[in-house]
């Protein structure tokens, strides 16, 4: 009796102690979901600064939701005139300094819905979430959402969210030491009920520009690197999409694999190599995005994603032609 009473007391105490933590996690996850939904479904336009390392730029963004889907336009205000326009069918990257437009077909919504990162319960195995009050920004009440990774394979985030709309007014990407990798800070943000479609049209007159297109269709006359996959993945990363596509400037179709942990994502591109290609693996960092390229079995494998360099390297070097194993093994933490 005494024993069962003590157990009951422990259970009650445990529940009392645990409830606030779970509530906080649940509340934080709800804010993360709300932010993701707001970014995808709200009309908004604003100015923000983007800071990494020693560089800072000012950008203008317009996001419009229409009957046929969303359209988005991002413009660099640094004088280069560069901009990106995402229509319901294509993504256009305008580079007026080179008189070039890169064109990427937009992924169909069916496969994209399955592949897009979606915060869910399993996120908490990989990240610790927290939510608290913050100082007002842009005259709006703010909640601060912390997304702290539990290992070194992903970045952390601190997000200042508008309490009314869920829109992020400021975001900081943090490395494993808790130091900022990238900062995006809105200096102006409006959430109008309606945005004129002309606001999302490119301001660049691309007459006479070179249009370089990618394509989803693979020609049957080339050597297609079919059936590759990662043999070992960092904890929590799963393959969520695989497709063949023709990339600008690449003469053969490329296999594109997408891995996600539910929040961060990594793309792996596998293209047949040639004897003239150099073999040293190389890597680069671009804001919070990392890229790593290496050669595997005569193919060039490149992994890119908004994760630490180590993560793209671990994934790229584990890719190989698909064998009998049904699923990749996870790298231990």
């Amino acid at each position: 009796m005494r024993r069962s009473s003590a157990m009951a007391t422990c259970a009650v105490l445990g529940a009392l102690l645990a409830t606030p933590a779970f509530a906080s996690q649940d509340e934080a996850r709800a804010w993360l979901e709300r932010m993701t939904e707001a970014l995808a479904t709200r009309n908004y336009e604003g100015l923000f600064t983007h800071t990494t390392g020693r560089q800072s730029e000012t950008m203008r963004i317009v996001h419009r939701v229409g009957r046929n889907g969303s359209t988005e336009r991002l413009v660099s205000l640094d004088g280069s005139g560069r901009e990106i326009v995402r229509t319901p069918s294509e993504v256009h990257v305008y580079l007026p300094d080179r008189r070039v437009v890169l064109v990427e077909p937009r992924t169909d919504s069916g496969s994209l819905a399955q592949a897009l990162p979606a915060p869910g319960p399993r996120l908490e195995a990989l990240y610790e979430l927290g939510i608290r009050d913050g100082q007002r920004l842009l005259g709006r009440d703010v909640r601060v959402l912390d997304v702290r990774p539990k290992d070194g394979y992903r970045y952390g985030y601190r997000l200042w969210l508008d309490e009314e709309s869920g829109m992020p007014l400021r975001s900081v990407v943090l490395n494993g030491h808790g130091r900022p990798v990238e900062l995006i800070h809105f200096t102006q943000l409006e959430l109008p009920r309606r945005i004129d479609a002309r606001e999302t049209e490119a301001s660049v007159d691309a007459t006479g520009y070179q249009w370089i297109r990618s394509s989803r269709r693979a020609s049957g006359a080339v050597d297609v690197p079919a059936g590759w996959r990662p043999m070992r993945t960092p904890p929590g990363f799963r393959v969520v999409a695989s497709r063949m596509q023709v990339m600008p400037g690449v003469p053969v179709p490329v296999q594109h694999l997408v891995l996600s942990d539910g929040f961060a994502s990594v793309s792996v591109f596998i293209e047949p190599g040639s004897a003239s290609q150099p073999s040293p693996p190389e890597s680069a960092s671009l804001g919070s995005a990392s890229a790593f390229s290496t050669r595997v079995h005569g193919h060039v494998v490149t992994a890119v994603g908004e994760v630490p360099l180590e993560t793209v390297r671990a994934i790229a070097t584990s890719v190989a032609p698909a064998g009998p194993e049904p699923a990749p093994a996870e790298i231990s933490r």
Binding site: T52, Q55, V91, R98, P117, N175, S288, H297, R313
Partner: protein, 191 residues
Amino acid sequence: MTEQIREQISAWLDGELREDETGLLVRRLERDPALRGALGRFVLAGEVLRAPGGQLASPGFAARVSAAIGAGPGNELPVALREKPAGRWSRPLLGAAVAAASAVVAVLVLRPDAGERNLAAQTATAVQPVALAAPLGQRSSPTPARNQRLAGYLVAHSQYASPLSRRSVWTGVLAADPGITRVAYDLAEAP
């Protein structure tokens, strides 16, 4: 940076600058790269100083950032901010890249002099099961095709990223500059 500009930027960041003054400030930012750099330092400094519990900052960091705000445009950020290498593409290189459609080689463009610093930082945070191998700093000349390849990969990847990450990736593509950092690994070919 004059006191007036500093006050304007501060008001802008707090969303309290008048609309007409905002327009003037944005146009000035477009014309003046040094001012953009100062703005970046200003924003990051404010960010770090506001961070609860000092989680973003190392000891003495705030003082160094404060010093950087007052520094001239040619000066670099404090060490702590440089530990993550400035990772961006070369704008001229990216442009040239796009112009050249001929394909060659693997990826990335890179500034070898920053490679060792980058690797040192990465090594410090290296994930245990996957050890890095030396030596580093292999040199190679960036080619237009490499830059074009990376731009294409990032835009293709952005479609599968969350809206937050997509904006980040796009911004990186638009803001490509000479800061990209290269690290070359001496690894055996994967099995």
